[in-house]
């Protein structure tokens, strides 16, 4: 990663962290304050992203929505990756038969498309933010787990680990000194790519009416609400979606700079 790329990535991350934790710093207004006389204002100097059907400022809402959207995306990725680390590492280090069993289970989970799996889980749990996190996390876990497994297996059979074994190093020391540091970088790249995808999936669930409920300024929910007025006020759907694209594209760029390849997640 070049120096400029590093600085840009850090700035990008810092911007979104700031937006997520202290949105009022960028958009001081109340994202829920309605003002019917100001409804459907096109983007202008006063409202750079325009106003929605209740006269709420879309820019304020997009900025305040970052917290919810990013939180769901991050939590889901953490859940998916946590599960994947356990399953993938277990499969890679386990005896052959157990590896085979875990692989079959992963293949079965992987064969149900991600969004369909998320919908399946919500059919059991009912809609909401918690279920959306679980649904997105669980539906991304099988893809991660397969990559973690192949990563650890490659390392397990590597020459440096063979050397460590020949030198009589203990298992714990081998895991700490060789497996973890060498698996970390690719996994970090994978997680970065995954966060972008998870933000999209989480927004998709809200868009379908299964995640964050409407009055909250969540990007997917805002887009869904704006869809009714698509012909009348394009800015209602355009800007929340743009925020998702910026986050997802940024995550993809950083993930690729970290050495992640575009793979099916």
């Amino acid at each position: 990663m070049s120096r400029t790329a590093k600085i840009l990535s850090l700035l990008f991350i810092a911007f979104w962290v700031l937006t997520a934790f202290v949105p009022a710093l960028i958009a001081p207004a109340d994202p829920l304050a309605i003002n019917p006389s100001q409804a459907f204002q096109a983007p202008s100097g006063a409202h750079i992203f325009g106003t929605d059907e209740s006269g709420r400022d879309v820019f304020t809402r997009v900025i305040h929505g970052a917290g919810d959207s990013l939180y769901i995306g991050l939590a889901a990725t953490a859940l998916g990756m946590g599960l994947a680390l356990v399953l993938g590492t277990a499969a890679a280090l386990a005896p052959r038969w157990l590896d085979e069993v875990i692989l079959r289970v992963l293949e079965a989970l992987y064969s149900v498309p991600s969004l369909l799996m998320a919908l399946l889980i919500i059919a059991f749990t009912g809609p909401g933010v918690g279920p959306a996190i679980v649904a997105v996390g669980l539906s991304t876990a099988p893809g991660y787990a397969r990559l973690v497994r192949s990563q650890i297996r490659t390392l397990k059979n590597s020459e440096m680990l063979e050397a460590a074994t020949v030198l009589g190093r203990g298992t714990w020391r081998k895991v700490r000194n060789h497996l973890v540091p060498n698996a970390l970088q690719p996994l970090l790249a994978l997680v970065t790519l995954g966060i972008g995808q998870a933000v999209i999936w989480a927004a998709a669930l809200s868009f379908l009416g299964l995640g964050t409920p409407p009055p909250a300024p969540e990007w997917g929910a805002m887009l869904s609400a704006g869809r009714t007025y698509l012909h009348l006020a394009w800015w209602l759907s355009f800007f929340p979606g743009l925020a998702i694209v910026v986050v997802a594209a940024g995550a993809t760029l950083i993930g690729r700079a970290l050495g992640g390849k575009v793979k099916a997640i």
Binding site: V112, F124, G126, L208, V245
Partner: protein, 310 residues
């Protein structure tokens, strides 16, 4: 004989996967707190009548021990009896027969369009200068990062609201198909182009490409005779995943364009917590994925001479 053995392995593997998916669903239903009969009928919110609950209890054998319930559930699935969808009031199998074709059509068309676009873009990128390369890179990344639900909305704004060229709702005509197919195809094309360009660059810079050029073949001929195959293989290996992501996208696209299909039926089944319908669709999409994977493997073996022997 080899083909039969391969087919046998595939069918065996498919059965194991379907069994695992079915088992996961069985466990999922039993994990829902409260009365499983009520859960099958849509949860406490559905206010199913006492008679309907009694019917569900006897149909799913809910008064039997859990192991018998499990085998009863599997026995029904083997006979393709997915039960009756209580929100659609029809047998699940019959509904799926109606909603599957439009979705498969949509997905296949989007797959074809995405492949054509990706090949075209990869070919263009090969001939582009440095600025063109950079632009292509940016377009691919954005295309792959665009969510279907936003792309669909933007396309409607552009081509329907502003230009008035195409209908915003899938109305059964060819024109009504353009926007849904594009919405599904563009992000996938972004992914495929990235993959194809990587492998195309490797192939075109390799010894055999150089040798072909030295024999006097034009760059285009080298691309057609050698590069294309190498560009297509890794992307082809992703077809199973691509198809599965298209099915995911279909849920959103069918909702945006008010198009009937598997995705929309699934969405309304989930909103109504219609477990029999959801079970049927999950098993069906798993089956579709397995079939597509087997087909791609077969095609890969045909294209890749090295793969045929292993």
């Amino acid at each position: 004989m080899k083909l039969l053995a391969w087919l046998g392995r595939k069918v065996g593997g498919a059965l194991v996967v379907l069994w695992l998916v079915a088992t996961a669903i069985f466990i999922g239903v039993r994990l829902i707190p409260g009365d499983p009969a009520e859960a099958i009928m849509g949860g406490p919110g559905s206010q199913a009548s006492a008679e309907a609950l009694a019917n569900a209890r006897s149909e799913y054998g809910l008064d039997l021990p859990i192991v018998s319930q499990y085998f009863l559930f599997l026995a029904k699935l083997i006979r393709l009896d997915f039960g009756t969808s209580y929100s659609f009031k029809d047998p699940v199998l019959q509904i799926m027969g109606e909603v599957l074709p439009p979705t498969i059509n949509l997905a296949l068309m989007a797959l074809a369009v995405a492949w054509l676009l990706a090949l075209l873009l990869a070919l263009l990128a090969m001939r582009a200068n440095k600025f063109g390369q950079l632009l292509g890179n940016a377009v691919e990344i954005v295309a792959a990062a665009v969510p279907h639900f936003w792309l669909g909305a933007v396309l409607i704004m552009l081509f329907s609201s502003m230009l008035g060229w195409l209908p915003a709702v899938a109305n059964g005509t060819a024109a009504g198909l353009v926007l849904p197919v594009l919405t599904l195809a563009l992000p996938l094309a972004g992914f495929l182009t990235q993959l194809m360009r990587d492998s195309l660059n490797t192939a075109m810079g390799s010894q055999f490409a150089l040798a072909a050029r030295a024999r006097g073949e034009s760059r285009l001929t080298v691309f057609r005779r050698h590069g294309l195959r190498h560009a297509a293989l890794p992307a082809l290996g992703l077809t199973g995943w691509a198809f599965s992501s298209l099915l995911s996208g279909a849920v959103v696209v069918e909702a945006i364009f008010a198009r009937p299909g598997l995705g929309r039926s699934l969405l309304s089944a989930v909103l109504a917590r219609d477990i029999p319908m959801v079970t049927g669709i999950a098993l069906f999409s798993a089956l579709v994925y397995i079939v597509v994977m087997a087909l791609t493997e077969a095609i890969e073996r045909l294209i890749d001479p090295a793969g045929a022997e292993s």
